[in-house]
Amino acid sequence: MADNETPQNISVPLVTVARKQPEPPVTPVSAVSEDASGIRAFLRARGSANAADRGFAGLMLLGALSLFVIVVLIVWILIQKSQLSIHAFGFHFFRSSNWDPVNGDFGALPFIFGTLVSSLLALLIAVPLSLAVAIFVLEICPIPLRGPISFLTELLAAIPSVVYGLWGIFVLVPLIRDKVGPFLEKTLGWTGLFVEPNFGVGMFTAGVILAIMIFPVISSISRDVMRAVPNHQREAALALGATRWEMIRLGVLQNARIGIVGAVILGLGRALGETMAVTMVIGNHPDISKNLFNPAHTLSSVIANEFSEATGDLYLSALVEIGLALFIVTIVVNAVARLLVWAVTRGNTAKAV
């Protein structure tokens, strides 16, 4: 306002001209504002977008919150339904190896043992293979073969667990009983890990089938992680005269190692919770034994086997407590793995999609 008045005082004619010129635009502005109010009125007649926006955003938020609700629901139900067993056995539940439904004495140690050993066995077989395949597909394989091989390994992930189990019962079990078992017994029998009799069903078979099942998980995620390594790392290694393997080792594996560990842990999480295929080939016997040919049981296989036949509240409660233990372990394992994978691929995943 002050600026407007000073020029008025200095040179009146100029300013009046100047003032007259802005004036015509002023009237159209009001005309425009009339138009705008017309638009506004039109919009108002159509309903307020503001309320609709807020309602829609709220609806989407509810969808997002449903994930939290699901987790809380799972935790609440598992804890509530296992109260009976928690009170009856306390922490002793996880140290006792008694599983005696008839006398109501329950301990989870054989199942914890079975789950850990079968999963570690699976990792031992699957990790080297999946890393080798990831390296092959990403760094070595001719480009036309890349797509088909990735597709085939992903196909392995699409096969349902129960079909793996079916194949395990009728193909893998006889194979291990008649061919692989005797060979292992002859060559590695001295370790005490492979002692006859070998029925084909048992810890070793479960480990093999788990390895086949978790392979696609580890392989595809470590591939993603390795792809996230910037290309100039590879170029720098090659420029220094590295061979291809040295380039992979120094440029790729070195940079992706945290993510690869994450991928392996993710595979472990999958192996820990896998149910049907394991139930069908592990032999289902709560035994703790060094002998890998022995029939065993895992946390998930005992639930699958006995849950619908469990008589008595304590029996059911003990099985739910096993489910709770399984849930907590897989949640922790998965959370750690996700954090590790995120640490490596952060910012790149959106672009890669």
Binding site: A57, V163, G165, F170, T330, R338, V353
Partner: protein
């Protein structure tokens, strides 16, 4: 000759090259080793299953042991119904959560929390979902029901659908949203008609993958849908499902039932693969039409 200053480094370089070749050989070999079980499983499914597939398999219900013939018609229909229930509950929830993550919660504390929860929930063993659905529904009603099975599978679908929806929405250019908002279109309309529409082929594929994943699930159905040897179209009663029937037949001691298990597994795999492929094709065509 023997005093050549390059001699040692030549030897080393040969050793390095040899190591390089060795690693290449190992990785090629590993890939072949991994492809063996895949070929073996698919080969056995076709070899053992195809011979047992006939019209009766798709039209008849199971017969008692000792009688020959019979089929899995009730299991196929039952699987379809349970999956329909699961999809009707799981897919809308999953898409809503995905839309929230991509359009509203980007970079917020809550958004990260939801994304992390979805990722972690994805790794929860399916049998735990079975226990939850059992405790929520079966113990309240005092009988097994197909609906409880559907709920268990729906819980499993949500995180997968959420993550794929979010990732697909992230690929929609921001300029498209800005264009719509700049024309005065309200945000909810922009999300529904612009973002979701542009990302729809990817989202449909994601939903289909989630569907295929739960289609083969057996563990959560063991004590929810429970299985049934007879026709049942009532969602409130125990219902047969293809994976359950395969399990029952596979662990039985009868050759006739083993034959049916192989045939059922072949049908299950074919259903999964065909549905995924069809939707992929459909989605690809749709995206071309929408892109113009």
């Amino acid at each position: 000759m023997a005093t050549s200053p390059y001699a040692p480094s030549l030897a080393r370089s040969r050793a390095r090259t040899a190591k390089d070749h060795l690693v290449t050989a190992i990785s090629v070999l590993s890939t072949l080793v991994v492809l063996v079980p895949l070929v073996a499983i698919l080969g056995y499914l076709i070899y053992k299953g195809a011979s047992s597939l006939n019209l009766a398999f798709f039209t008849k219900v199971p017969v008692p042991v000792g009688e020959s013939g019979g089929g899995m018609a009730n299991s196929i229909v039952g699987s379809g119904m349970i999956l329909l229930v699961a999809s009707l509950m799981g897919i809308p929830l999953g898409i809503a959560a995905g839309v929230y993550l991509a359009e509203y919660g980007r970079g917020t504390w809550l958004g990260h929390g939801v994304r992390f929860t979805a990722d972690v929930l994805n790794g929860v063993p399916s049998i735990v979902m079975g226990i939850v659905a059992y405790s929520l529904i079966v113990t309240k009603q005092n009988h097994f029901s197909a609906f409880a099975g559907g709920v268990a599978l729906a819980i499993m679908m949500v995180p997968t659908v959420t993550r794929t929806t979010e990732e697909m929405l992230a690929t929609v250019p921001t300029a498209l949203r800005e264009a719509a908002l700049g024309l005065g279109i309200p945000q909810w309309r922009t999300v529904l008609s612009v973002s979701l529409r542009a990302a729809s082929p990817g989202i449909i594929t994601g939903c289909m993958l989630a569907f295929a994943r739960v289609a083969g699930e057996t563990a959560p159905l063991l004590f929810t849908a429970f299985g049934n040897q007879f026709w049942n179209l009532n969602l409130n009663q125990p219902m047969a499902a293809l994976p359950l029937q395969i399990y029952t037949y596979a662990v039985s001691p009868y050759d006739e039932w083993h034959r049916l298990a192989w045939a059922g597994a072949l049908v299950l795999i074919l259903l999964i693969m065909v549905s995924v492929t069809l939707v992929r094709l459909f989605a690809a065509r749709n995206s071309l039409a929408g892109g113009r």
